[in-house]
């Protein structure tokens, strides 16, 4: 799963959101690192909808602007959970190997400020 996809699913895990809401949420989740553009977002939503991970609701008009809410399906939920678990295991492995590389006293020097 690519990172933008993962972040979109993560954004929707908090509850249904409309297009622009997803963009701002992804920006927040990724600490301003991933700024989704509309074309990328809608191509991803189109694919996720077809894969059954995301569901689109009815279009509604708020303040003269059209918006449609997207929500995570139960299949999307389990895929996201799987992916989160996989990433967690990878991150854990990486962290434990880094710890093994540096004997205890060196850790605080090698990782100033503490990474985890």
């Amino acid at each position: 799963m690519q990172e933008p996809t993962f972040l979109i699913l993560t954004a929707l895990a908090a509850g249904p959101q409309h297009g622009y809401g997803i963009i701002t949420d992804v920006l927040r989740i990724s600490a301003e690192r991933v700024r989704l553009r509309a074309g990328t977002l809608y191509a991803a939503l189109d694919r996720l909808e077809r894969e059954g991970l995301v569901e689109a609701g009815q279009e509604e008009v708020v303040d003269g602007r059209a918006r449609r809410y997207y929500r995570l399906t139960s299949e999307g939920e389990s895929r996201l959970a799987e992916e989160a678990e996989r990433l967690r295991r990878n991150a854990e492995t990486a962290a434990s190997r880094l710890r093994a590389r540096h004997p205890r006293p060196a850790l605080s020097v090698a990782l100033p400020g503490g990474v985890v």
Binding site: H18, G19, Y20, I23, R37, A38, G39, T40, L41, Y42, A43, D46, R47, R50, E59, R65, A66, R67, R68
Partner: protein, 313 residues
């Protein structure tokens, strides 16, 4: 100002499939406008690029859909037949133009011989087309590769023949012009394209278009090519076959498999027209060969991957 920006965005959204646009155009416009900084009249270049790229990505996904895979297979099947027919007609046109001018007095026997030789170079394509038509796909493929290799060897042969011209596939080389190794690319390309299309097609033949209609097209195309060659040179000679091609094209545009057929055949016009005027042989091969490889690569992926529910067989 917002209205102007909105208009530009709407134009960019043409990159999206109609059915997607019908459903999402309003909300996408809203998202795009919400993301644009105030006072903007034109979309930022990166946003414009992203909008178009997203549309093309969605189109590509649609193209790879199961339903449309069947159309791709049909398109590959027909294209494998139309390709050698087109090349055959193009080379017959060339032979006809040459024969007609050679037959006018003063008649030089050598020139007539060369017209016959030109027609001779068209025959391999005719044979490949015929084999495909008869359902002998394997024989057609083997022949196409054999002819491609022969063309390649032919292009390596030094022009030390008795005739005043050495005629290679698609080009007349005035004697004395050095034959370079790089010419091999342009010499074998048309036949290689035919061969590759035959490999891509699951069962090459006229099925999707209908053999009756394709037979009429082929006869009309050959008739028009020879007529064109007789009534004049240059644009006049090309006009009758172009009219037939136009009718074929419009008919193909009207069906999903037909539109895909046109796409699969898109690498052909360049080698038929003789490629870029003035470009070197290597540049020529690259300019024609790389897009052709891209088109045929995508076609191969679309026809050869994915499962399609097929009845019978």
């Amino acid at each position: 100002m917002t209205a102007e920006l909105e208009r530009h965005y709407r134009r960019l959204l043409a990159a999206y499939p109609q059915e997607h646009r019908d459903r999402h155009v309003q909300e996408m416009i809203a998202v795009l406008l919400a993301g644009a900084e105030p006072g903007r009249r034109w979309p930022a270049l990166r946003d414009a690029y992203d909008v178009v790229r997203g549309g093309l990505a969605i189109r590509l996904h649609r193209a790879a859909d199961q339903g449309s895979r069947r159309h791709w297979r049909e398109a590959a099947d027909v294209a494998a037949l139309i390709a050698p027919v087109l090349l055959f007609a193009a080379m017959m046109l060339r032979a006809a133009v040459y024969a007609w001018s050679a037959a006018r007095p003063p008649v030089v026997p050598g020139e007539l011989l060369q017209a016959a030789e030109l027609a001779g170079y068209a025959l391999p394509y005719g044979l490949v087309a015929l084999l495909v038509w008869l359902g002998r796909a394997r024989a057609a493929t083997v022949s196409a590769w054999t002819f491609a290799i022969l063309h390649g060897l032919e292009s390596l042969r030094p022009p030390s023949l008795g005739a005043s011209h050495v005629v290679t596939d698609g080009a007349i080389l005035v004697m004395g012009e050095p034959v370079v190794l790089s010419r091999i690319g342009t010499a074998v390309l048309p036949m290689v394209l035919c061969a590759v299309m035959l490999h891509l097609a699951p069962s090459p033949g006229p099925a999707a278009v209908g053999s009756g209609r394709l037979l009429i097209w082929t006869a009309a195309l050959l008739g028009a090519a020879v007529t064109g060659g007789m009534i004049g040179r240059g644009p006049v000679a090309v006009a009758p076959p172009l009219i037939v091609l136009l009718v074929m094209g419009v008919t193909l545009l009207r069906s999903p498999a037909g539109r895909r057929t046109l796409l699969v055949l898109s690498p052909l016009p360049a080698p038929i027209a003789g490629g870029l005027p003035g470009a070197g042989a290597v540049a020529q091969t690259l300019v024609i060969g790389l897009p052709a490889a891209a088109v045929l690569g995508v076609t191969g992926w679309l026809t050869r991957t994915g499962r399609v529910k097929e009845s019978g067989e």
